[in-house]
């Protein structure tokens, strides 16, 4: 029995040796190779359509055009504020990929990131230490959910960290993303013996590279999208719906992770908190706001109309044109107030047609002319809220079958 076990053991070892040799031969001599490509693009929640009616256009846009990374760069080329560099990673807090579990974490560098990072190449240790302090003082972290951002410190924040795996969406399925990238470098050398150390990439380095990409984009300042290769930085894990577990992606010789960056690149410097994608600069949500803040109850649209904005009907009875606004135009001014100025010298305008401005909210009506009659026909100013009409001297206002409202005439 012991002999059989011994023989089996050595047979197994011999087989293992053969397999190892075959594997080594196959691995180093194979000519075909495989590529796994992940496109990390749109991160719009899968159930957004259910909420569309409840969101404003701006909120809807924030969800609809959600991509993996938002980059915000205020270059301060015209010295109008400070340089601001921001990166925001948009992800989900669970595999439902729904609107309610959208979350973003990001970092902000309130200074010249490229110049400050380059200072770390200094040979003087004390200079490097000062530079690190300076970088830390300009570096901030934020979280964002449902359009509100905050700094959660160490305990309330998810943050951007190498230890975190972020649930993202690819092809409407959950995946996870983790910053796992690193590289080896020679830290010291004795004779021919090199001591190697591993450098683990940080999100500040991701920001640095992304800012460089945005600053060198051929389109220049403005808003846009670029697709960057983040294979060096990130690993992607896929979700097995059957087991409910995340696992490494199938083995391939090369893995490429391409991600969409939505960027805003501005010539100006950041001078106000709302220029930040987090709405906060240096942990101050009132950054750059007026010292005496303004506030209001309601904002109402006002439009100034002249005879050029009106429609006209030729009337043989009045021997000229009668002004009115068609229903489509009146709908456009719904919930707005209008100021109308009609210059009678511009056209042969004889008055306002029947129901000309009915239901239009009029703030003021001014008639400018000289030695002319101006007719107000039936219902022409009905339900307009107009209390007075301003007329220049020489204009004679005639109410024709128009007795359903009281108007005060004011001479200009």
């Amino acid at each position: 029995m012991a002999k059989i076990a011994k023989i089996s053991f050595w047979c197994l070892a011999a087989l293992a040796l053969v397999i190892s040799v075959v594997y080594i031969y196959y691995h180093f001599n194979k000519t075909n190779y495989t590529i796994g490509t992940n496109y990390l693009g749109d991160q719009a929640p899968v159930d957004l359509i259910e909420f569309e009616d409840k969101l404003t256009e701006v909120q809807k846009n924030e969800y609809e055009k959600r991509v993996l990374f938002d980059i915000n760069v205020y270059s301060n080329s015209n010295n109008s504020g400070i340089e601001l560099n921001e990166l925001m990673l948009n992800y989900f807090t669970d595999t439902s990929l729904s609107t309610s579990v959208c979350r973003s974490s990001g970092i902000q560098y309130a200074g010249d990131l490229v110049e400050d990072i380059q200072k770390l190449d200094d040979t003087d240790i004390s200079n490097i230490q000062n530079s690190i302090l300076e970088i830390n003082n300009k570096f901030y972290e934020y979280e964002r959910t449902q359009s509100i951002s905050w700094n959660g410190g160490k305990n309330l924040a998810t943050g951007l960290s190498r230890d975190e795996k972020y649930t993202i969406k690819i092809d409407d399925k959950p995946y996870q993303l983790q910053l796992t990238g690193s590289y080896e470098y020679v830290s010291s050398k004795f004779l021919w013996i090199e001591k190697k150390e591993t450098h683990y990439y940080t999100f500040l380095e991701v920001l640095y590279d992304c800012v460089q990409a945005v600053k060198t984009n051929s389109k220049g300042y403005g808003d846009g999208y670029i697709v960057v290769d983040l294979s060096k930085y990130f690993s992607v894990y896929e979700f097995n719906e059957r087991t409910g577990q995340f696992r490494e992606q199938p083995t391939t010789d090369i893995v490429k992770n391409y991600a969409t960056l939505k960027f805003h690149y501005d010539e100006k410097g950041a001078s106000m908190a709302n220029q930040s994608i987090f709405g906060i600069i240096a942990e101050d949500s009132k950054y750059g706001m007026p010292e005496t803040p303004v506030d209001y109850w309601k904002a109402e649209f006002n439009f100034d109309l002249t005879e050029d904005d009106l429609d006209f009907r030729t009337s043989e009875v009045y021997n000229g044109e009668l002004a009115f606004l068609n229903l489509k135009k009146i709908e456009l001014y719904e919930n707005s107030k209008v100021n109308i100025t009609i210059d009678l010298s511009q056209k042969a305008i004889k008055g306002l047609d029947i129901s000309a401005f009915e239901n239009l909210k009029i703030n003021s009506l001014t008639i400018i002319g000289s030695n002319q009659d101006f007719y107000l026909l039936e219902n022409s100013l009905k339900n307009t809220g107009l209390m007075q009409i301003k007329i220049s001297s020489g204009v004679n206002l005639i109410k024709d079958n128009c007795s359903d409202f009281e108007l005060e005439e004011v001479q200009l």
């Binding site: 397999i19 846009g224 303004v294 506030d295 209001y296 006002n302």
Partner: protein, 206 residues
């Protein structure tokens, strides 16, 4: 550092793993010949055997993975819709009006090119912050001129801010300019954009 990273460090590359196995096996074989004690030599031999089996298991797993590996593509990047859009729509919550050289308070931005905007051939409905509003639509531009009347809680005008929005559809991009004419109006508009954001949209053929 989590376990995965430790695994990554040690067995990062196949080469490193095989080198470790190789060195250990060579060392044990060397000891096998150097040591005189039979029991120790047997133990060494069995350890080598176990290591060879472990290497075989590792190799067979990786051989299986490599032989069965297939290229894959996950996801897509809708390039066209991002670089050139069919309908014009722009949203931002980062509007800041700053004083320009002409003394006006403005915000300007270059955004994506809009495909086939034609104000002569087509009609457009213009929406500003979800409100369909009157606008002058030219061949390749949109112009909105209005005033925002900011009312107090007593329904009195606090500020009547003139607001001009100019959108130009150019060959490579679309430029948007928002302007008002004084600091106080800029402050009120700033507050309005802070609360409501800024969105403008042109819908064709209505």
């Amino acid at each position: 550092m989590n376990l995965l990273l430790i695994f990554d460090d040690v067995f990062k590359e196949f080469k490193n793993t095989m080198i470790i196995f190789g060195i250990v096996i060579i060392l044990l074989v060397f000891l096998f010949f150097v040591l005189k004690n039979d029991t120790t030599r047997k133990v060494m031999l069995y350890i080598v055997g176990v290591l060879v089996i472990a290497a075989g298991i590792y190799s067979s797993i990786n051989l299986y993975k490599e032989v069965n590996a297939k290229s894959y593509i996950n996801g897509e990047i809708p390039l066209f819709s991002q670089f050139q859009v069919e309908d014009f729509s722009y949203c931002s919550s980062q509007i800041v009006l700053t004083k320009d050289n002409n003394g006006q308070f403005t915000y300007e931005v270059d955004t994506l090119k809009v495909k086939d905007f034609d104000g002569i051939e087509n009609t457009y409905k213009i929406y500003f912050n979800d409100k369909n509003i009157p606008a002058k639509v030219n061949a390749g531009s949109i112009e909105i001129n209005c005033k925002l009347n900011f009312l107090s809680t007593e329904n009195e005008t606090l500020n009547l801010a003139p607001l001009k929005i100019q959108v130009n559809f150019l060959s490579e991009s679309t430029t948007i300019k928002i302007a008002t004419n004084n600091q106080e109006s800029a402050n009120y508009l700033q507050k309005y954009f802070l609360v409501n954001g800024f969105s403008i949209k042109a819908i064709k053929g209505v």
